[in-house]
């Protein structure tokens, strides 16, 4: 019991929570934006993989870290364009199209990576983002090192969650996105072009997914390896439901989730070999499933989610 308390009282845990949460925040926001406009984007897992690869590769070839981040976002946007083409223009099954995008983006990442970086015993590394202490706040006892010494993308992710919450609920553009996700026919009657809104939302959302992936290679780790995304994309899809499609709750959900993950990582080292480590690794996935079961009924799903829109067709 005191071990548990020690973990909770260590600033290291809380700092780690924000680090673990960052890709989840970005990915969940991306998936949420797509779904608010009515498009489920299961391309997320592959887009994150590609973002992680291309962001890393850009920096490895001499660009600076922010350029790597930007390239990952652009690449994510391109995959978003592909997904939107399949699901918005052609109106294909969003489930299958998304899985296709994931399979393609992931295998394409591995192909490009293998082509650019020859097989080596130890994977090559880059110098990742370094934590930045916020002046003043970071000097506070406990709270400072726990919350205010993070790498820059973490601050960006938190800021983006707040910006997106404002955008979706407080601006005309946000209203257009929500209407398109709830009732595209009504949106069109109001002079909104549902196709354009969906394209925009899916491209922007996928760009966020690309950034989520890039965080893994440019901040959390310093190298790229296949299967490093490890289902984080699918967890984000679950977190969207858990957050009931609200950005500010997505932020809290991702942090709550990261808390459990960070906690189990530390518990692993305390308990050592007494419990198989796989049981700990299972926790994030099991938690996601539990969260889905808990929230699915209560969540307010965008009514036109997964329904293709064709002008003049009901």
């Amino acid at each position: 019991m005191s071990a548990v308390f020690d973990i909770l009282a260590s600033a290291g845990l809380w700092a780690a929570v924000f680090r673990i949460a960052t890709p989840l925040i970005l990915g969940t926001l991306g998936a949420l934006l797509c779904e608010r406009a009515g498009v489920l984007n299961l391309g997320i897992e592959g887009i994150m993989t590609f973002g992680a690869m291309i962001g890393w590769l850009t920096v490895y070839n001499g660009a600076d870290l922010w350029t790597g981040f930007l390239v990952a976002a652009l690449a994510g946007g391109l995959f978003g364009l592909l997904h939107a083409g399949l699901t918005v223009t052609l109106g294909l099954s969003q489930h299958v199209a998304g899985l296709g995008v994931t399979l393609f983006a992931a295998s394409f990442s591995y192909y490009v990576f293998r082509l650019a970086v020859p097989v080596a015993g130890t994977p090559p590394t880059i110098t990742p983002f370094q934590p930045i202490a916020i002046p003043g706040l970071s000097d506070l006892p406990f709270v400072g090192p726990a919350f205010f010494v993070q790498t820059p993308p973490t601050y960006v992710a938190i800021l983006l969650a707040l910006v997106l919450a404002y955008l979706i609920f407080r601006t005309p553009l946000g209203l257009a996105i929500r209407m398109t996700g709830e009732n595209p026919h009504a949106a069109e009657a109001q002079g909104i072009n549902p196709m354009a809104v969906r394209y925009g939302a899916v491209i922007a959302g996928s760009a966020l997914m690309g950034m989520a992936g890039a965080f893994l290679t440019l901040s959390a780790f310093n190298s790229f390896f296949p299967t490093m995304v490890q289902g984080r994309g699918w967890i984000c899809i679950a977190l969207v439901v858990f957050s009931s499609w609200r950005p500010e709750r997505a932020l809290l959900g991702a942090l709550l989730f990261a808390f459990f993950d960070g906690f189990q990582l530390r518990l692993q080292t305390v308990l050592g070999g007494a419990v198989p480590y796989q049981l700990f690794l299972m926790i994030p996935y099991v938690l996601s499933i539990a969260a889905l079961a808990l929230m699915a009924r209560r969540a307010r799903v965008p009514q036109a989610l997964m329904q293709p829109y064709r002008r003049g067709e009901r």
């Binding site: 399949l86 489930h95 192909y111 099991v286 699915a296």
Partner: protein, 349 residues
Amino acid sequence: MRFERREHRSVALVIATPLIAIASALAIAGVLIVIAGAPVLEAYWRILQGAFGSRLAATETLTRATPLILTGLAAAVAFRARLWNIGAEGQLYFGAITVAWASSRFLGDMPSILQIPLLLMLGALAGMALLLVPLWMRLRFSVDEVVTTLLLNFVAVLIVSMLIDTVLKDPMAFGWPQSQPVADAAMLPKILARSRLHIGLLIAVVLALVLAFVEARTVFGLQSRAAGLNPQGAAYAGVPLKRTLVIVACISGGLAGLAGAVEVMGVQGYVTTELSRGYGYSGIVVAMLANLNPFGVVLAGLFTATMFVGADGMSRSLGIPSYIADVIVALSLLTMLIAVFFTQYRIRR
């Protein structure tokens, strides 16, 4: 520009669709091969040679096609009823580990003629059990099964990893995490001597035939299709939706579990976490390429296996990363989706 539904679909067009899709995928992947600095036609020729150029290569390709046909059938059956089972990977591992456990612990002394069918059945049951969890969650809490089946894949592999690290660990494996082997009597007979090709292929093909019959000629086949096309309409017409979905899930999960059992009993003899090379996920592509048709699944499974086996050889001789096979397979899913769309719609200005 807008799309208009085609009133009539010619049979020739439907048959040509996957061929057009595959050709397009190969063309796009060709660009990637050029970028890598290799001659495209030679690369594809070497893939063919690598997959069929010798007796060994051909039997290897057929061996690799076996689990792909089974997971392809698992996806096809489920998708037809709009049950999005993306969890074949996890179900496959559940089937595999169950077989290793049962044979190494209890059934090892049983003669082949009893042990093999019993183990295959247990493997299928394990796959079923894993799919019934997300199905129950869909029916009870209306949770989208896509995400839950995907997440359960990770859970299943971790459970297997834990078991082969602890209670089912093979003490003779020099510390490698691998399961205790199945008994010799549990190994599937070979189709051809001096090859790895086992009767799992025959099992897969026979099951494809059975499924084709069930889907085309039985009440259940009709009900499962109706449940997929229009659930409300089907319910109104008296289709027992829940029961239909449960049966579909049992078949789908069972086939995926069987894929794992067959892979252990036919090829490797034991379980590691590298048993499946993404067979569960490739099965989705196989099913879509086949347009969810069981006969088509056999051919699509063969195509996918050709790419995977052939790319290994091509990669060694031309220096192209063998991931090109995964790229081609994924691309052919996307091109197939687009091609099917254009068999259903035409462009109108």
